[in-house]
């Protein structure tokens, strides 16, 4: 079979291989690293678009690595959710790549520490490219052990990136992050062992049909879930996230908050709602939902009390992740499928909005040299575009229409009410209100223009720092208007989804 023809599933490897090669080249070569990374990011986006097109044409596909069929070989699979996550990663990734360029260029302008900043940039590109490859691998992989390896790639790359700024606080946070990641990975691996011991199968498709009802598998699911929860930073296991995300360099924060946490969550969700669906008990779903609810409230309350912009944004991530978990108990009624659309919308919306927020935070930081919320007065005048982006992204976080966050929240609310679990709806609504408070606490500062305000910073920000943020924010806003497209992708080949919406899909 010709691997280059239109219907070939082999195209699936391109989102993995392209950044991988780019990462190797970035490390190998000294010059033009940005060009390589940018090319890879663009190529990745094109590849993912192609995959989407393929998916819409031919439905879900599997790619057997090395031609070996499961159960022995490793399989990649592209289906609706995976492609959507890939799209999210690719778009955000491109924005991050551009933004990082602007960020580092701006910092290198500061001659005193130019060498250090150049070093940071030098290692940023390979790490970021490999991380991208790892993420894409995670979304595509259909093999439970291969997933472990991708998780590790992500963990190491992410921890290294988090420590990149070279400041003690970030290194400490990164160390902790690494340990937590390891703990999570090991717990996950232990689960894998249990699973393999029970079934002797690593391929998810086969597992899905061969899930025996034994305690081993259940323990495996529990262990894998806890490991992934740890990596996803669900309250009470979120302690590592805010310092890590807040102390990293701005592009890194964007990567960590926008993409990395989504990876582990995606895996967790897939395990629960695709593979081990039969094993899930209502009480377990409710338990996850409760944790999610606690996360929403706790994260929001913590975000409200922060004095630094980046910490606030980081805690908002903690809070927003909770929404993803609220989807768990709501799945029961709808046979666990509509829940996909909820999660996807929340995740997409959050990824875009949070990227924008961290980009703005980074721009503000570069502009002012600090990000203390109470001293942010008047930024509007000097940084109109980032402030605008902040506002729009904030709208998405708050779940106001027409953002993607709104669609997600709408679906959540609808599900919670149709299933007569209105208490989740209350939590969701409260969460949005708290989000409003923390978003606008900063927003109002941006708008105050003191009498004696004058732009004091030396260099004007490059457009590379401003526009990616705005574009991401706009995407998060208008994704809601274009919500039927993700729905269509999600539904492709998913018979269950079409059953849920008997009236037909848009």
């Amino acid at each position: 079979m010709n691997p280059f023809q239109l219907a070939s599933p082999t195209w699936m490897i391109s989102p993995i291989i392209l950044p991988l090669i780019a990462g190797l080249l970035c490390f190998l070569l000294n010059r033009r690293t940005f060009a390589i990374a940018l090319a890879a990011a663009v190529a990745n986006l094109l590849a993912v678009c192609f995959l989407t097109y393929q998916l819409l044409l031919f439905g879900p596909m599997r790619c057997h690595m090395g031609g070996w069929q499961p159960p022995l070989g490793i399989t990649l699979r592209s289906d609706g959710p995976a492609v959507l996550m890939l799209l999210m990663t690719a778009v955000t990734g491109l924005a991050i790549t551009v933004y990082a360029r602007g960020y580092f260029s701006h910092r290198i302008l500061n001659l005193r520490q130019a060498t250090q900043h150049q070093e940071q940039q030098r290692y940023f590109w390979p790490l970021w490219m490999l991380l991208l490859a790892g993420l894409n691998g995670l979304f595509l992989s259909n093999d439970i052990f291969n997933l472990y390896v991708t998780l590790e790639i992500i963990a190491i790359a992410a921890a290294s990136l988090a420590a990149l700024s070279g400041k003690p606080a970030s290194q400490l946070a990164s160390f902790r992050y690494l340990l937590v990641s390891l703990l999570g990975s090991l717990t996950y691996l232990l689960g894998v062992v249990f699973l393999y011991r029970s079934c002797g199968i690593l391929d998810l498709d086969i597992l899905q049909h061969h899930v025996a009802n034994g305690p081993g598998i259940r323990a495996a699911l529990a262990l894998m879930s806890i490991g992934l929860l740890l990596k996803t930073a669900l309250v009470p296991l979120h302690f590592w996230l805010p310092p890590t995300h807040a102390n990293a360099l701005a592009p890194v924060s964007v990567i960590l908050s926008g993409l990395v946490v989504k990876g582990s969550f995606y895996l967790l969700f897939r395990l629960w709602f695709e593979i081990f669906t039969q094993l899930i008990t209502p009480s377990a779903l409710n338990f996850m939902g409760t944790l999610g609810a606690v996360a929403i409230l706790w994260g929001a309350v913590q975000a409200m009390r922060q004095h630094r912009l980046k910490l606030m944004v980081a805690y908002s991530t903690v809070s927003q992740l909770g929404y993803l978990f609220i989807a768990f108990p709501l799945s029961r009624i709808d046979e666990s499928i509509q829940v996909w659309s909820i999660v996807i919308f929340m995740a997409l919306g959050h990824a875009c909005a949070k990227s924008a927020l961290f980009m703005v935070a980074g721009a503000v930081f570069l502009h002012l040299g600090h990000d203390r919320i109470k001293d942010l007065n008047g930024v509007r005048a000097s940084l109109p575009i980032p402030v605008f982006a902040y506002g729009i992204a904030g709208v998405s976080l708050m779940g106001l229409p027409p953002s993607a966050g709104f669609i997600g929240k709408w679906l959540l609310l609808t599900s919670s009410l149709t299933s007569s679990q209105w208490w989740w709806a209350l939590v969701i609504i409260t969460g949005s209100l708290l989000a409003m408070i923390y978003v606008f606490r900063v927003m109002s500062r941006f708008f105050v223009i003191p009498e004696d305000y004058s732009v004091t910073t030396s260099a004007p920000l490059s457009p590379l720092l401003e526009w990616p943020a705005l574009i991401m924010a706009l995407i998060s806003l208008f994704l809601g208007l274009a919500a039927s497209w993700p729905m269509k992708i999600l539904a492709t080949g998913n018979t269950a989804l079409t059953q849920v919406f008997p009236g037909g899909l848009p």
């Binding site: 703990l183 717990t187 305690p215 259940r218 323990a219 699911l221 529990a222 262990l223 879930s225 806890i226 929860l229 740890l230 009470p236 296991l237 979120h238 302690f239 590592w240 094993l279 899930i280 008990t281 009480s283 377990a284 338990f287 944790l291 309350v301 913590q302 409200m304 009390r305 919320i373 109470k374 408070i437 606490r441």
Partner: protein, 568 residues
Amino acid sequence: MTPADLHTILHALTLSLVAGTPLFMAALACTPLQKTVARFLPWAALPAFLAAFTAPANVFVEVPWFFMGSRMGLDENGHIFLCLAAFVWFLASFSSRSLLKDDTKRARFLVFFLTAMAGNFGLILASDMLGYYLFFAVMSFAAYGLVIHKETATAAKAGRIYLTLVMIGEVALFTALIILAHNSGSLAIEDLRGISYHPLTLALLFIGFGVKIGALPLHSWMMPAYQAAPIPAAAALGGAMVNAGILGWLRFLPLGQTSCPTEALFFIVAGALAAVYGVLIGLSHNQAGALLGCSSISQMGLITVIFGLGLLSHEAGLAAAPVLIIYVVHHSLAKSSLFFAYDLAHRQGKTLSYLQMTAILLPALALAGLPLTSGAIAKTAFKDLTIGLGPTWYGLGTFFLPITAIGTTILMLHFMHVLKDNGKRSLPERAESRTIFSISFIAVAITLWLWPAARDSASHSLAGAKILQALWPVTAGSILFFVWRQIPFCNKELSTAQEKQPSFATLLPPIMQLLEEKEWQIPPHDNVNTSLHRLSPHLRRLEKIMGRWKIVGLSYLALCLYLVFLLL
């Protein structure tokens, strides 16, 4: 275009000119043309005259687009009232022309004066409820500007009282009209015939128009307002605008349609009390304007009584209506004449000559019902009405009417007395005011005698018994007045005693106190929300504890165990 069409158009044009001319002039007064407007001020009333004499009766022009569907036209009463109003306004504007020569607030006066005039004419033309209400309101509010024109403290106070009462009246009238419109299902005044009146409606109507008339509990604006307003404006107030209230009652009360004896009794009692009260309170004043106001209260009390009588029964109503008209014509002419006399005295600046005094005595004592005057005709008509109503009300005509006549005589003589030494300095244009007074004097003297509708009463009043009956109260009053003049303590300056008027502004403070700053507000806070601010350290500590490794371990293990437990 047929002649009929042409006729209709002409009719409509005339009618719209009636209110339109003053309005247009009012608009012009806002421009630099105000001097011209002031010069041509009397001409504003001319279209009204024209309409009153030429417009066919009971031909109505529908103006569906205006307001909420308007109807304009003149019925029989309308002709009379319009004529009367036009006359009074004409004289008043004539008189104010000179007043405005060098008034800095000329434009303002002109605007209010002309607007009030337009309102007054308009309401007479309006033959639908809302049109009436519209022009009534326009007139009432514009009159406020006349009352307060002098901008003195007393004027301000008079204005406040006037405005408060006008507002109460407007609201009451609004409510009454809504109820009427609801009950009749239409806005036309004719459609009110035959509907049943709730006592509440009657009460609201009483209040609504009673304010303008000065019916008893609502009278208190009259004295200060008549005193405070410039005299021509006061003449318009007392001679023309008061009639708007009467016309209102005439149109909206179920006079001659239904009998409502209880409410009628209320009208009668209130009117009778006002008739007496006006006199009594008048004796404590020694300002000419205020005195005329008191006299109006008293006279309007009598009119209220006539209304009360008319409400007693269907027949009574039919009988009362012409009496009312006669009385209104009489009163309004006499009262305006007195105002012009006051104006004359005011301007002349020195004591009036005996000829003048005698001339002024005519309208003054006409109010008291001196034989051979219009007052005698009106009172005769009144008396005839009471006689017609049977023994119950007979006493009203024979006993009560003379008493009020005595009172009025005293009051009027007091007025003359006050007038005699009122002027302090000489003002220009005495001649003009003399002319005006002469015209009004002639009007008072001859109108009712020449007027066909009053012919019966006129001839009645010439009967010897009637003359005697009318004469003795006047005589008695005069005697009493001179006696009263001799009693020293009665002549003290009483007029400064101002009445306390409970206005809404004074009623409200307690409520306001009650609500002061009770509004729920999120307490102001600088940085973080208050409660959160207080909680902040705790939250931080908790978050820190949750970040400790052993706590993390605990939660990790607990979650792990629990999940295993849940899944197993």
